[in-house]
């Protein structure tokens, strides 16, 4: 149990609620690029993805 708690502490959840269409598009895009959401968020945090017109 301690390990799981430690893991949860070190790797917290990031929750985002998106509209269904966007959600589906996002899954398709991630799949096309061969990325997982974790990898995408890590890359964005490290400045490797910056040209998004948000």
């Amino acid at each position: 149990m301690d390990d799981i708690e430690e893991f949860k502490k070190n790797f917290p959840f990031v929750l985002i609620m998106l509209p269904v269409k966007t959600h589906n598009k996002l899954l398709v895009k991630l799949d096309k690029r061969g990325l997982t959401l974790e990898e995408f968020l890590t890359a964005f945090a490290n400045g490797k993805i910056s040209n998004l017109d948000s």
């Binding site: 790797f11 917290p12 929750l15 998004l52």
Partner: protein, 188 residues
């Protein structure tokens, strides 16, 4: 008493909302989460906005070869201009004037030649070679009734100029004197 039933059914409105807005979840390390928050704060955006932008992002269209050639040529020209272009400020308005055109280039070339700029490693200044006519070997077996006429080059003063220049150089006077001494010894 007072204990909530965990398996309580959600409100219909909540169910509808969650159906229309499903949750996307990910676990990332604390360091990356802090970085992510910092980046989002710097860019003044939110994570849902970023994900929506990524989802709606258009595929990058590749440029045609001709466009790429044109772009690279312009880039190279700009770099070359920065490296090699000669410019000077206008004495009247102060704006930059670029040296452009064969006449200006010829004038600058002339000035550089007059200034006698040379390679720093070259010890002796460049002088044009004096071309002397080849000596003809006379045929001693029988006299030639029509001897060949050797054209004599007209002196245009270049030789004298060069000799004067050489005499002005330090160290060359001694060499010229030693040459003349040798010639006089051989003549004796």
């Amino acid at each position: 008493m007072g204990r909530r039933n965990k398996s309580r059914s959600k409100l219909p409105s909540r169910q509808k909302y969650e159906k229309n807005n499903p949750t996307v979840s990910a676990r990332i390390s604390i360091q990356n989460r802090d970085k992510l928050r910092l980046v989002l704060r710097k860019q003044g955006t939110t994570l849902p906005k970023v994900l929506i932008a990524f989802a709606n992002e258009q595929e990058i269209k590749l440029k045609s070869i001709e466009d790429a050639k044109k772009a690279s040529y312009e880039l190279g020209f700009r770099d070359a201009k920065v490296s090699f272009a000669v410019s000077f400020p206008c004495p009247k308005c102060g704006h930059t004037i670029f040296v452009n055109g064969p006449e200006q280039i010829a004038q600058i070339r002339e000035l550089i030649i007059k200034a006698r700029l040379a390679h720093p490693e070259c010890p002796i200044p460049y002088l044009p070679k004096l071309t002397a006519p080849k000596p003809t070997v006379p045929n001693m077996s029988r006299p030639n009734p029509n001897p060949p006429v050797v054209p004599v080059a007209k002196s245009n003063g270049n030789r004298d100029k060069i000799l004067n220049f050489l005499q002005e150089q330090p160290g060359m006077q001694q060499m010229l004197k030693s040459d003349s001494n040798k010639k006089s010894q051989n003549g004796n």
